[in-house]
Protein backbone atom coordinates (compact mmCIF):
# COMPACT_ATOMS: atom_id res chain seq x y z
CA UNK A 1 0.00 0.00 0.00
CA UNK A 2 1.42 3.34 -1.02
CA UNK A 3 0.31 6.82 0.05
CA UNK A 4 1.46 10.28 -1.00
CA UNK A 5 4.22 10.11 1.59
CA UNK A 6 5.61 6.82 0.37
CA UNK A 7 4.93 3.23 1.37
CA UNK A 8 3.03 2.81 4.59
CA UNK A 9 5.27 1.07 7.11
CA UNK A 10 4.23 -2.15 8.73
CA UNK A 11 3.33 -1.49 12.37
CA UNK A 12 5.49 -4.28 13.72
CA UNK A 13 8.56 -3.05 11.94
CA UNK A 14 11.62 -2.79 14.17
CA UNK A 15 12.92 0.75 14.10
CA UNK A 16 15.78 0.56 16.53
CA UNK A 17 17.37 -1.99 18.86
CA UNK A 18 15.79 -0.23 21.85
CA UNK A 19 12.24 -0.99 20.58
CA UNK A 20 11.16 2.45 21.74
CA UNK A 21 7.84 2.56 19.92
CA UNK A 22 6.87 -0.89 21.13
CA UNK A 23 7.76 0.00 24.72
CA UNK A 24 5.67 3.15 24.43
CA UNK A 25 2.80 1.09 23.03
CA UNK A 26 3.04 -1.26 26.00
CA UNK A 27 3.15 1.70 28.39
CA UNK A 28 -0.17 2.90 26.91
CA UNK A 29 -1.60 -0.61 27.32
CA UNK A 30 -0.47 -0.76 30.95
CA UNK A 31 -2.03 2.62 31.64
CA UNK A 32 -5.28 1.41 30.04
CA UNK A 33 -5.20 -1.65 32.27
CA UNK A 34 -4.62 0.65 35.26
CA UNK A 35 -7.83 2.50 34.37
CA UNK A 36 -9.64 -0.83 34.05
CA UNK A 37 -8.37 -1.87 37.49
CA UNK A 38 -9.62 1.35 39.10
CA UNK A 39 -12.96 0.94 37.27
CA UNK A 40 -13.32 -2.64 38.49
CA UNK A 41 -12.57 -1.57 42.08
CA UNK A 42 -15.14 1.24 41.95
CA UNK A 43 -17.82 -0.98 40.39
CA UNK A 44 -17.08 -3.75 42.88
CA UNK A 45 -17.82 -1.29 45.69
CA UNK A 46 -20.84 0.04 43.81
CA UNK A 47 -22.50 -3.37 43.98
CA UNK A 48 -21.89 -3.43 47.75
CA UNK A 49 -24.53 -0.74 48.10
CA UNK A 50 -22.75 2.51 47.19
CA UNK A 51 -24.47 3.16 43.89
CA UNK A 52 -22.85 6.60 43.34
CA UNK A 53 -19.66 4.71 42.59
CA UNK A 54 -21.19 3.50 39.32
CA UNK A 55 -20.45 6.91 37.75
CA UNK A 56 -16.66 7.05 38.30
CA UNK A 57 -16.52 3.29 37.75
CA UNK A 58 -18.01 3.53 34.28
CA UNK A 59 -15.86 6.60 33.54
CA UNK A 60 -12.74 4.60 34.38
CA UNK A 61 -13.83 1.63 32.25
CA UNK A 62 -14.55 4.00 29.37
CA UNK A 63 -11.06 5.49 29.72
CA UNK A 64 -9.61 1.97 29.77
CA UNK A 65 -11.41 1.03 26.54
CA UNK A 66 -10.34 4.31 24.93
CA UNK A 67 -6.67 3.96 25.87
CA UNK A 68 -6.26 0.32 24.91
CA UNK A 69 -7.88 0.84 21.50
CA UNK A 70 -6.09 4.15 20.89
CA UNK A 71 -2.76 2.54 21.81
CA UNK A 72 -2.81 0.46 18.63
CA UNK A 73 -3.56 3.51 16.42
CA UNK A 74 -0.96 5.53 18.28
CA UNK A 75 1.62 2.82 17.67
CA UNK A 76 0.94 2.93 13.93
CA UNK A 77 1.10 6.74 13.92
CA UNK A 78 4.38 6.68 15.86
CA UNK A 79 6.03 4.22 13.48
CA UNK A 80 4.82 6.27 10.48
CA UNK A 81 6.02 9.58 11.99
CA UNK A 82 9.43 8.14 12.81
CA UNK A 83 9.80 6.80 9.28
CA UNK A 84 9.05 10.26 7.90
CA UNK A 85 11.52 11.86 10.31
CA UNK A 86 8.78 13.69 12.20
CA UNK A 87 8.33 13.96 15.94
CA UNK A 88 5.83 11.39 17.27
CA UNK A 89 4.75 13.82 20.05
CA UNK A 90 0.97 14.30 20.09
CA UNK A 91 -0.19 16.89 22.62
CA UNK A 92 -3.91 16.17 22.20
CA UNK A 93 -3.60 12.53 23.25
CA UNK A 94 -1.47 13.51 26.23
CA UNK A 95 -3.85 16.34 27.23
CA UNK A 96 -6.92 14.09 26.92
CA UNK A 97 -5.30 11.42 29.10
CA UNK A 98 -4.30 14.01 31.71
CA UNK A 99 -7.83 15.48 31.78
CA UNK A 100 -9.47 12.04 32.07
CA UNK A 101 -7.20 11.08 34.97
CA UNK A 102 -7.75 14.39 36.78
CA UNK A 103 -11.54 14.14 36.40
CA UNK A 104 -11.48 10.55 37.63
CA UNK A 105 -9.39 11.51 40.68
CA UNK A 106 -11.74 14.42 41.45
CA UNK A 107 -14.84 12.20 41.25
CA UNK A 108 -13.00 9.68 43.45
CA UNK A 109 -12.44 12.40 46.06
CA UNK A 110 -16.04 13.58 45.83
CA UNK A 111 -17.33 10.04 46.28
CA UNK A 112 -15.11 9.46 49.33
CA UNK A 113 -16.28 12.69 50.92
CA UNK A 114 -19.94 11.83 50.27
CA UNK A 115 -19.87 8.25 51.57
Amino acid sequence: MSGPDGPRPHPTEQLDPGLQSERTYLAWQRTGLGFAGVGALLLHNAFDGHFVLVIPGLLALLAAALLTTRAQLRYRATVAAVHLGRSPADRRVVAATAVLTTVLCLTGLAVILLL
Binding site: D16, G18, Q20, S21, R23, T24, A27, W28, R30, T31, G34, F35, G37, V38, L41, L42, N45, D48, H50, T78, A81, V82, G85, R86, S87, P88, A89, R91, V94, A95, T97, A98, V99, T101, T102, L104, C105, L106, G108, L109, V111, I112, L113, L115
Partner: protein, 136 residues
Protein backbone atom coordinates in the same frame (compact mmCIF):
# COMPACT_ATOMS: atom_id res chain seq x y z
CA UNK B 1 -6.77 47.76 23.21
CA UNK B 2 -3.60 46.72 21.46
CA UNK B 3 -2.40 44.80 24.52
CA UNK B 4 -5.70 42.91 24.71
CA UNK B 5 -5.42 41.82 21.10
CA UNK B 6 -1.85 40.72 21.65
CA UNK B 7 -2.76 38.79 24.79
CA UNK B 8 -5.60 37.02 23.02
CA UNK B 9 -3.32 36.22 20.13
CA UNK B 10 -0.71 34.80 22.46
CA UNK B 11 -3.14 32.60 24.42
CA UNK B 12 -4.65 31.31 21.20
CA UNK B 13 -1.17 30.65 19.87
CA UNK B 14 -0.28 28.71 22.97
CA UNK B 15 -3.19 26.34 22.45
CA UNK B 16 -3.28 25.93 18.71
CA UNK B 17 0.43 25.98 18.03
CA UNK B 18 1.64 22.40 17.97
CA UNK B 19 4.63 21.56 20.12
CA UNK B 20 6.29 20.91 16.76
CA UNK B 21 6.97 24.58 15.96
CA UNK B 22 9.46 25.23 18.76
CA UNK B 23 13.12 24.40 18.24
CA UNK B 24 13.94 21.51 15.95
CA UNK B 25 12.81 17.92 15.44
CA UNK B 26 14.43 15.99 18.29
CA UNK B 27 15.57 12.40 18.36
CA UNK B 28 12.23 10.58 18.43
CA UNK B 29 13.49 8.34 21.23
CA UNK B 30 13.58 11.34 23.59
CA UNK B 31 9.97 12.23 22.76
CA UNK B 32 8.85 8.65 23.33
CA UNK B 33 10.76 8.47 26.62
CA UNK B 34 9.04 11.69 27.70
CA UNK B 35 5.68 10.16 26.79
CA UNK B 36 6.41 7.01 28.78
CA UNK B 37 7.42 9.11 31.79
CA UNK B 38 4.11 10.95 31.51
CA UNK B 39 2.25 7.63 31.40
CA UNK B 40 4.20 6.37 34.42
CA UNK B 41 3.01 9.41 36.39
CA UNK B 42 -0.56 8.77 35.24
CA UNK B 43 -0.30 5.19 36.48
CA UNK B 44 1.09 6.46 39.78
CA UNK B 45 -1.94 8.74 40.13
CA UNK B 46 -4.27 5.82 39.32
CA UNK B 47 -2.56 3.60 41.90
CA UNK B 48 -2.89 6.31 44.56
CA UNK B 49 -6.57 6.77 43.64
CA UNK B 50 -7.20 3.02 43.90
CA UNK B 51 -5.39 2.95 47.25
CA UNK B 52 -7.44 5.88 48.51
CA UNK B 53 -10.76 4.33 47.49
CA UNK B 54 -9.76 0.91 48.82
CA UNK B 55 -8.67 2.22 52.23
CA UNK B 56 -12.08 3.85 52.74
CA UNK B 57 -14.19 1.09 51.18
CA UNK B 58 -12.43 -2.20 51.91
CA UNK B 59 -10.32 -1.74 55.05
CA UNK B 60 -12.15 -2.55 58.34
CA UNK B 61 -12.67 0.46 60.64
CA UNK B 62 -9.89 1.57 62.94
CA UNK B 63 -10.71 2.41 66.55
CA UNK B 64 -10.22 6.03 65.53
CA UNK B 65 -13.33 6.62 63.39
CA UNK B 66 -11.92 9.16 60.93
CA UNK B 67 -8.63 7.32 60.34
CA UNK B 68 -9.63 5.65 57.05
CA UNK B 69 -10.99 8.86 55.61
CA UNK B 70 -7.85 10.79 56.56
CA UNK B 71 -5.65 8.22 54.76
CA UNK B 72 -7.98 7.97 51.75
CA UNK B 73 -8.33 11.71 51.28
CA UNK B 74 -4.56 12.25 51.59
CA UNK B 75 -3.87 9.58 48.95
CA UNK B 76 -6.46 10.95 46.52
CA UNK B 77 -5.33 14.57 46.99
CA UNK B 78 -1.82 13.43 46.08
CA UNK B 79 -3.26 11.64 43.02
CA UNK B 80 -5.08 14.84 41.97
CA UNK B 81 -1.87 16.89 42.36
CA UNK B 82 0.02 14.46 40.12
CA UNK B 83 -2.72 14.14 37.49
CA UNK B 84 -3.50 17.86 37.29
CA UNK B 85 0.14 18.87 36.72
CA UNK B 86 1.05 15.95 34.42
CA UNK B 87 0.28 17.68 31.12
CA UNK B 88 2.23 20.86 31.96
CA UNK B 89 5.20 18.71 33.00
CA UNK B 90 5.11 16.75 29.74
CA UNK B 91 4.92 19.94 27.67
CA UNK B 92 7.75 21.71 29.54
CA UNK B 93 10.00 18.70 28.94
CA UNK B 94 8.98 18.39 25.30
CA UNK B 95 9.95 22.05 24.86
CA UNK B 96 13.30 21.54 26.55
CA UNK B 97 14.00 18.46 24.41
CA UNK B 98 13.20 20.37 21.21
CA UNK B 99 15.38 23.31 22.23
CA UNK B 100 18.22 21.07 23.36
CA UNK B 101 17.97 22.76 26.76
CA UNK B 102 18.53 21.02 30.11
CA UNK B 103 15.40 19.31 31.45
CA UNK B 104 13.48 21.60 33.82
CA UNK B 105 13.75 20.53 37.47
CA UNK B 106 10.64 19.11 39.13
CA UNK B 107 9.64 19.04 42.79
CA UNK B 108 7.09 16.30 42.18
CA UNK B 109 9.27 13.24 43.02
CA UNK B 110 10.15 14.87 46.34
CA UNK B 111 6.51 15.79 47.01
CA UNK B 112 5.26 12.30 46.11
CA UNK B 113 7.85 10.60 48.29
CA UNK B 114 7.08 12.92 51.18
CA UNK B 115 3.30 12.47 50.77
CA UNK B 116 3.48 8.68 50.70
CA UNK B 117 5.84 8.68 53.71
CA UNK B 118 3.41 10.82 55.73
CA UNK B 119 0.48 8.56 54.80
CA UNK B 120 2.45 5.44 55.77
CA UNK B 121 3.53 6.93 59.11
CA UNK B 122 -0.10 7.80 59.90
CA UNK B 123 -1.23 4.31 58.85
CA UNK B 124 1.38 2.76 61.15
CA UNK B 125 0.26 5.04 63.99
CA UNK B 126 -3.39 4.04 63.54
CA UNK B 127 -2.50 0.34 63.54
CA UNK B 128 -0.36 0.76 66.68
CA UNK B 129 -3.19 2.63 68.45
CA UNK B 130 -5.54 -0.25 67.56
CA UNK B 131 -3.05 -2.81 68.89
CA UNK B 132 -2.53 -0.82 72.12
CA UNK B 133 -6.28 -0.57 72.69
CA UNK B 134 -6.82 -4.26 71.86
CA UNK B 135 -9.25 -3.23 69.14
CA UNK B 136 -8.80 -6.43 67.08
Amino acid sequence: MEWLRRLRHRTRDRWTRPVHTVGEEPDYRFSLANERTFLAWIRTALALLAGGVAVVQLVPTFSIGWARHLLGIALIVLAIAIAATSYARWERREHAIRLGAPLPPSQLPRLTGLGITVVMVFALAFVLVDVARGHR
